[in-house]
Every structure is written in C-alpha cells, then in structure tokens.
C-alpha cells in the first residue's frame, strides 16, 4: 500500500493512497464524479470530459489525475456542474438520442446523467447528421447515431490474439466507430454481450439480445431522488373568480402526449377547479377566443400549417411549453430528416409497395399543408419557455410542471415521473 496523503475534496479534508485515481478516491469518500468513459482502472480515456474538475485553480479531467499531497479539488461547484450539463447536452444534440426507440433506454448511463442533472432539452440545435447504422457484422449492430465516441469499446474489446474489433475512423465531426467484420466474428457471444454492456449508450447492440426488463425494473428506473424544475416566470396573478387559461395543440405528434395528460385521473377534477381550457383538442375549441396564460405544444413542425399554428400559439400564450420528445427534438417524425424529402414522397406515393404500378401523382392542393424540408423541434421555430420530456411524458410530470408554473411554486418531480421514454 502506498503512503497516505492529504487532499481536499470540495472543501472536505480527506486522506487517500498516493497515486490513486481521483474518481475512485472521490467515490470512497461519498462524492460521485460523473463520467461516461472512465471504465478500466488502469487506463483512463479522457474522452467524455464530463469528469472535468478543478484542481488548484486549473480545469482537468478527474480520470487522468493521480492524487498527490495537498491538492485542492473542486468537484461540484456551480460552474463545473453547468459545464457538465453543457457537455451532456452537446452529446444529445450531436447524435440522434431518441430514448423511446432505444434498446438501452433505462439502462443507459448517459440518460441517467441526464435525469440526474434534470436536463429537459438541449440548448444546442440538433445536428441531425445521418451517420451509419451498420447491420453487417455477424453478431452486432453499430448504431453510430447514438455513439458518443467514449472509446471504451475501442480500448476494451479485443480478440484473443489482441486485435481491435472496434476502431475510430475518419476525423473531426465525421469521426465514428467502425466494427472490423473479420475480427468481430472471432468474438464469443459473451464477449459481444460485454461490448454491449460497457457501451454507456445504446450504440452497440447484439442481434437477438435485449435486456428484456419491463419499465420500473431497469437499472436507472428508481433512484429515490427528486428532480426540480426551475421556474423562470413570475407568479401569475389572477383576479377574483378568474381561472388560469390554458391552450393545447398537437402538431406533428401522435396525440399520445394528450392521452397522457388525461392520465392524471382524479387530479383532473382539481385541475378543472383552477384551469379553463381555451383552444385545445380536449375541448374541441378550434380558435383562440382570448389571450392564454399557458400553451402546451405536442409534436414538432413537419409542415407549414404546424408552423402557423405554433406561431399563433406563441402570440396567444404568455408561456409556451413543449411537451413530449417530438416537440422537444422532433421525435419519430424527425427520422425523415436523414432521408431527402423527394425520397420520402416517392416512397409514400410512387414507389412504395402499396402504390399502383405507374403511379405518378403526389397529392397536392392548396388545402394540403406543404411539407417542410426537415422536421423542426419547436424551439427552432419560436421561443419555448419550458420543456417536459418523455414519450409520452408521465401524467404527473405534466401536471406538476403546469401547476408549478401556474401557481408560481416549485413542485418537485419524483425520479420515476421524470423520463425520456
């Protein structure tokens, strides 16, 4: 055993073995330094940058630090926390992290960090680059749109004769992990499953294997902690007898979020005590009759009508909330962002298996909304004030956020209510 040295972790004086990895030292002392790439103790990768801490005034990744006498480590300062959040949001914007459709959802390290940091949306515009989804390997699938390039698989998964199965190819924004087909065949089933399990996201999948656990029993479903929505608006003042006016709409969405809204069950009665619905599919009121306090938007913008409706909502509602993944990041409809619009239309109307031979008509009329070149998240079209993630968002989550905003008091949301899937 190495000699003991003294160091400070977030102001707390502790002792540790000299030369021990900082992440481990912090863990021993009950402080978690979040990371997505630190895996094997012998070789830190320093790729994800999330474990960035401040040592004696300098920022550095925690995983590359071996503790020394007298170092003063700051881990959870507001600035460092904000940095970490920013990096995770950048990872979300960079890839196509659509939790509802991901096999790893519920067991995903990145998703878990997102929950812990109460990330509801990313501050960056989604990049929507069509990266390769590689089904060719014998046993595995590599979904590069989900890959965060942490390098764990590159460093950890080798064949028995020491060759790499996963490698980085290309560089810069085009960097991705590529599987070597020949070497991949040499892996045993267990080794392949290990590759899938060390992947902190859902980029590496093994064909025919799914975690198979239902909601509620997955790794990160229950963590016994609350998530706080930080309020950005002032308390809404009402005159006597007046109710809060709320409007809702579904743009390019499936109405699932509205269904979830109805799932608040008996709370609906409480809701109707204080809320009056204006334009909404729930009331079937088609037109705004007055200015509203809050507008709830489901779905992103796929056509020009969506844009008009969304802009009208922005004008008529003081506070606008995107609820559900489609409104926040485009969701399922945004999957067409990887396919040219022409191809989408041709597949639907001309060349698809259900179209007639020689079909040459794409329905077009002034009453049919025009499709946009891409599906846009709502916040890329108008300013959005709050986000409620989920597919659909949990009923209690929706209601608690709306209630917080209306009443001007923060209501904590339980971890199991805060979901991306």
């Amino acid at each position: 055993m190495n000699k003991l040295i003294n160091l400070t972790l977030d102001g707390k004086k502790v002792q540790a073995e000299e030369g021990k990895n900082l992440i481990d030292v912090a863990k021993d002392n009950g402080i978690e330094i979040p990371t997505l790439c630190y895996y094997k103790k012998s070789k830190p990768l320093a790729t994800c940058r999330i474990c960035t801490v401040n040592i004696n005034g300098r920022n550095t990744t925690g995983c590359t630090v071996k503790v020394e006498e007298g170092i003063d480590v700051k881990i959870n300062t507001p600035e460092l926390f904000e940095n970490r959040k920013a990096i995770i949001e950048m990872l979300y914007a960079e890839g196509n992290h659509f939790c509802p459709s991901c096999e790893k959802s519920g067991n995903c390290d990145m998703q878990n960090l997102g929950y812990k940091m109460a990330i509801t949306n990313t501050r960056y515009p989604h990049v929507f680059r069509n990266k390769k989804v590689d089904f060719t390997p014998h046993r595995m699938i590599m979904e590069s749109n989900r890959c965060i390039l942490c390098k764990r698989c590159v460093e950890e998964i080798k064949t028995k004769d020491g060759k790499s199965v996963f490698s980085f190819v290309k560089r810069g924004i085009n960097t991705r992990v590529q599987i070597d087909y020949k070497e991949e065949r040499k892996l045993t089933e267990d080794e392949a499953i290990r590759a899938m399990s060390i992947c902190p996201v859902g980029a590496i999948l093994v064909k025919g294997i799914s975690d198979g656990k239902p909601f509620g029993e997955r790794k990160y479903d229950f963590l016994n902690q609350n998530v706080h929505t930080s309020l950005k608006n002032k308390k809404i003042e009402l005159e006597d007898g007046e109710k809060f006016i709320v409007a809702t709409t579904s743009l390019a969405g499936c109405f699932g979020c509205h269904m979830s809204l109805l799932d608040i069950d008996t709370d609906l009665i409480d809701m109707l005590e204080i809320v009056e619905f204006n334009k909404s599919p729930l009331t079937d009121i088609k037109k705004f009759s007055k200015q509203c306090h809050v507008g709830l938007i489901e779905g992103g913008c796929a056509n020009d009508e969506n844009v008009h409706v969304l802009r009208e909502f922005r004008r008529k509602c003081d506070i606008l909330i995107s609820f559900g993944e489609c409104a926040i990041m485009g969701g399922i409809p945004a999957m067409r962002n990887f396919v040219p619009l022409q191809e989408c239309l041709e597949e639907a109307y001309l060349n698809g298996p259900t179209s007639e031979l020689g079909a040459d008509i794409i329905p077009a009329h002034e009453d049919i909304p025009k499709l946009l070149d891409n599906v846009y998240p709502c916040n890329e079209v108008v300013k959005i004030d709050y986000y409620i993630p989920g597919c659909p968002p949990n009923a209690q989550h929706i209601w608690k956020v709306v209630k917080s905003i209306l009443l001007g008091e923060e209501i904590p949301i339980a971890h199991e209510e805060f979901k991306y899937d």
Binding site: N59, T61, T64, S167, R171, K182, R315, E380
Partner: protein
C-alpha cells in the same frame, strides 16, 4: 520495406509504409490495407482508422498529379478563387475530384506555409508559388507534356526582410558549421541545462514552456532510451518561420538536437516534418549525412561524456493537430494523431513510453546560437523576461511579406511600419489559434513584459484602462502575423478560421468536435443576418464550454480569435443582429417549403 525489431513489427513504421504506398499507387486501397494489417498484426479497421485520419492519405485514386491548393484566408485574399477556377478549367473537373484520365486530382488543404507567396499550391508535394491563371495553364500544359513537378517547381523564397544589426541578430546570419558542438567537449550535460535555463529560452512553437526546465525533467527521468523530437509540423496558418529556418540553417536545428540529446541523455532523435514541407526532406537528409560523416551523429559522439545519438525524419500525414506534442507522438507511433490523455508529460512517458523532449525548430536553432554568442550577450537582447529575438512570419496586406527577426520589445506599430502595412485594421496574431489585434493594440509591445494573468479581462471598449493595463502582447506566439486592411471583411476572415477548426479537430472529445461545428453554424447565422442578440450571448457561452473542457490546446484555443474579434469589433456583429421578438429569425418558412414546391413542380412537368 518493414523494419523488424525483435521479430516484432514496429508500429512506428506504419506511417512510412502508408506513405510509400500512397506515393506509388496514388491511393491506399482495400487490399493494401489488408496486407498492411496482416504485416503489422492489426485489424483491418485499425489501419483504416489511421489512413482516414490524415488528409494526405487517400482511399481512392487521387490522380497521378495531386494538386493541393491552400484555402487559408491569406490565399483567398491573394486570389485563390481565380486559381481554383483556372485549375478546374484546365483539368476539367471541380475541386475535390480527379480528372477522368486519372491524371490530376485537385484538393483544398489548410495553410501550406507559403503565406508570403500566395496563392500557392503543392503538386505532388512540390511547391508552386505566386500562381496566376496563366501560370496554372502553363503548369498543367507542361505536366500533360510529360514534364514532372520536380523539373520546374518554384523553390520557395526565404524572403528574410529584416534582421537587427549583425551583433544583435540571432538566427539569420552566417553560421560556422559544428562550432557550437565544441561546447559539449568541454562541459557536462548539467552545465548545458543550466546555460539554457539561464537564457530563459522558452518553447517557440507557441506554448512557451521553459526549455531548460523541460530538458532538466527529461534528464531526471531515468530510462534506457530517451528521445529528442524536433517539431517541424508547422501547421499554424500564416506561420512559415520553421520552413525558412530549415531552408537557411538546417545545421542549427540539427546541432540544437545534438545539444539537447547530450543534455538529457537521449540516444535517438526524430524530426517530425509536416508533409507540406516534404520538398525540404532531401536537403535535410544531406546535412544529416554530413554530420554523420564528421562523427557528430551516430555512435560515440565526441564529448566530455561521449554518447550515441542519431536522427531520422518522420513525415507527417496532413493534420494540424499533430503539432500538439502528444498528438505528434501518437502519430509517430503509428496511431491516429489524436491528442493524448495528458495523464503524463512527454518528458515522463513520451514516444514509445520513454522520456521524450519535443522542441520546436526555432527553439532548437536558438541553442547553438546562444552558445555561440554567449549567454550574457543573448540576455542583453530583447527584454528581461523574454530575452533574445523572435522570428515573425508576416503576411497579408503589406508591402513586404516575409520573415522578420526582431528583438523582443518592439512595438506593434514599429513592426507594422517595417513591413509596410497599408492601412492596417485587423491583425490575426499567432495564427488562427491566437487572438486579434486592433488599432487599440498598436502601441503594445511584442514581449512577455507586463502580462496580466489570463483571468484578468479588460474590456477593449474601455479604451483608457485597456491602453494603460494591456502593455505586453504576450509571448504565446508561434510568430504568425497576418495583417488585413479596412477593405477586408472581418466576418469572412473569422469564418475561414472557424472552418479550419471544424476541419482540423481530431474528433476525440465532444466540446471541440461538435462545439466548433455548432459555433460555425452560429457564425453562418450571423453572416446571413438571421441571428438575434441571444445568439451573440450563446456564442460566448458555448465558446466557454469548448475552452474549459477540451482535451488539448486545439480546442482550448479554437474560439480565441472569434471571441477576441467580438470584443474588439462588436459593431460588426451587432449590425448583423436583428431584434428578438419571440420569433426565431433563423427559421424561414419560405425556405423550408421551397424544396417541397420544387419537387411537386418537377413531378408535374411533362418533358415531352
């Protein structure tokens, strides 16, 4: 072809092998990669990863004559667009393509170290400078007629425009070969380290780490093998001083390496020469041979403590990041040139895990000169904290672009008058990774005196305070000095800088990889006048995320120029920004539906 050590293939031979194939076959094909992978006992994809990392390795045929046209802003201002059109016309295919007869390939590349003679290109790594459309026509004509680039390329001019008086010049004056090496016959290595420490010499690549200290650390780390690497991967746009040093005084660089080897106890040396300077390789080899002949390289070099040391040249593959020392070491080891994890300093665990000193060409060239002139004389030059002289690579809007060796302490204004700057308005100082200088900075001093800590931030809009407190301009300079006059559009210059970093990020960490990509998009938004005030705030916030979380200097410095320009020329940005009235200007409904209208039009059109 492949060197074997202990019957195991040495992976550091991978790059030379790839170069050999690239040169002969004009691309590295699928079967080549399979063979290489087998030879080196690697998986195919790992080799593929290395090949696709470097700009100059091609997976598809890049033409018998591969033309790389510099796309830096200096080249653009010098008329790169016309040259590109001329090339495209002559070879019949657009940029990025290979002509139908596979004779010519035309590609863009980052700065090729010829900023004082732009527009310039490399054809099979032979330089052609001061291009005009007529000259392009002539070049292609001659190549088509069977002449080779080696027969008629332009040997780059050295353009040494200014040196101090003879006694006060350090670099560019005649040198008697081998003379500094007398020193090691009389002195111990420790004495040499003390001498370098006394001289305050610091890393001239731009990081300015004290050289003597670096050598001392390397000496203290005990190991059977130690390495001296000369960093001649001069990739910072606008810098070409190392090229000129290697053209004029390769012997200084080599003697610097020998001295460094003696000081730290190294037995092997390498010059990491950027591929863009491949035309210098043969000349440097000749000098190396000469030193070997005189027994100043090789076994048992005469010294107070005789030692073994030899130098080889490692050719880069076209990646700016490889100028960063840990990336450079990865590249030399035959890996992708990604920046290292910074768990160890190279002087602890560097090339092949052994203590390694990586020094810039200019730093190494300074050592023999300090010995020659004596450290007292050297300390008389320049300023107290930054003694000696510094070489600046000057380009842009000035009468005399080229190399300026000046004593530290010169005012920016003096340098501007020396170079004959015409109406200087905006200066990119220290290349794309550096910062920008405006009129307010012209009375500052080019030295390391009076530097405030990085944490102190004085708003340039507060002119009085700024002028009083910002005295020295900082030593963190590789010496690139790009001058632009009032007619040049600053946003275009900055856009070129941002494009460069998106292209050159190694991709290993997300702040740099995607952060720069997103910043670039933001800049597009500003240029297109679709941004609002919030976008300007976000640029600063995002840039802060990139700077405080990136793995290496590339990411940390990448947004310097942008932020600095926003500080010093705020109106340029504000003029392009619209008021935010809740509607995001960047989304334009007509633009978003244009594609749909076009598709429907096409489908309804009857072509008969």
């Amino acid at each position: 072809m492949i060197m074997l050590t202990n019957n195991k293939v040495d992976r550091s031979q991978l790059m030379p092998v790839l170069w050999e194939i690239q040169r002969k076959k004009r691309h590295i094909g699928h079967d080549d990669i399979t063979k290489i992978a087998k030879e080196f006992n690697l998986s195919r994809m790992e080799v593929e990863g290395v090949v696709t990392f470097y700009h100059f390795f091609h997976r598809k045929d890049c033409g018998k004559y591969t033309i790389y046209l510099n796309n830096s802003i200096i080249s653009k201002h010098a008329g790169m667009d016309d040259i590109q059109v001329a090339f495209e016309k002559e070879i019949g295919v657009p940029m990025g393509h290979v002509s139908y007869d596979k004779m010519f390939g035309l590609y863009e590349t980052a700065c090729i170290g010829l900023s004082d003679q732009e527009p310039a290109c490399l054809i099979n790594f032979k330089p052609f400078t001061n291009l005009t459309p007529e000259k392009v026509k002539n070049i292609i004509f001659r190549l088509k007629n069977g002449e080779k680039p080696i027969d008629f390329y332009d040997k780059p001019k050295t353009n040494i425009r200014y040196t101090p008086t003879k006694e006060r010049t350090v670099f560019f004056k005649p040198y008697k070969n081998f003379s500094s090496l007398d020193y090691i016959r009389k002195h111990k290595p420790e004495a040499l380290i003390d001498l370098v420490k006394e001289s305050h010499l610091a890393g001239r690549g731009g990081a300015f780490f004290p050289t003597g200290l670096k050598w001392q650390f390397a000496r203290q780390n005990k190991s059977d093998v130690k390495y001296i690497i000369c960093n001649a991967d001069e990739g910072e746009p606008g810098t070409f001083k190392d090229r000129v040093l290697m053209q004029e005084h390769p012997e200084l660089m080599i003697e610097g390496m020998i001295l460094a080897a003696y000081a730290v106890g190294a037995t092997k040396g390498a010059i990491y020469l950027r591929a863009e300077y491949r035309y210098l390789k043969d000349d440097i080899e000749k000098v190396l041979t000469n030193y070997r002949k005189h027994n100043l390289l090789g076994d048992n070099i005469a010294a107070l403590e005789p030692f073994d040391f030899d130098i080889y040249i490692h050719l880069g593959g076209g990646a700016y990041i490889c100028g960063e020392e840990t990336a450079l070491i990865n590249s030399m080891e035959g890996y992708r040139g990604e920046a290292g994890t910074k768990e160890y300093f190279p002087v602890e665990k560097g090339f092949k895990g052994k203590p390694t000193v990586v020094n810039n060409v200019e730093t190494l060239c300074a050592v023999p000169r300090i010995i020659e002139m004596g450290v007292e004389k050297w300390l008389e030059l320049g300023t107290e904290k930054t003694p000696g002289t510094k070489i600046f690579s000057v380009s842009g809007d000035c009468e005399k672009p080229g190399i300026y060796e000046i004593e530290w302490g010169m005012k920016v204004r003096e340098l501007l008058s020396l170079i004959g700057a015409k109406d200087p308005y905006y200066i990119l100082f220290n290349g794309y990774a550096g910062n920008c200088l405006a009129t307010i900075d012209f009375d500052r001093e080019l030295s390391g005196e009076g530097i405030l800590s990085a944490a102190v931030n004085i708003d340039p809009q507060n002119k009085l305070e700024y002028k009083q407190k910002m005295v020295g301009i900082g030593v963190k300079s590789g010496g690139s000095f790009m001058v632009f006059n009032r007619n040049k559009e600053i946003l275009k210059i900055i856009k070129n800088v941002c494009n460069f970093f998106v292209e050159e990020s190694c991709g290993v960490c997300v702040p740099c990889r995607t952060g720069n990509f997103l910043l670039n998009k933001k800049l597009d938004k500003i240029i297109a006048e679709k941004a609002n005030k919030n976008d300007l705030i976000e640029i600063r916030e995002w840039s802060h995320v990139i700077q405080s979380n990136s793995r290496c200097g590339l990411g940390i410095m990448s947004s310097n120029a942008l932020i600095n320009t926003m500080d010093k020329f705020p109106t340029i940005f504000e003029n392009r920004v619209a008021a935010n009235n809740g509607v995001d200007k960047s989304f334009n409904l007509d633009e978003a539906t244009a594609k749909y209208d076009e598709i429907l039009d096409n489908i309804e059109t009857d072509y008969e």
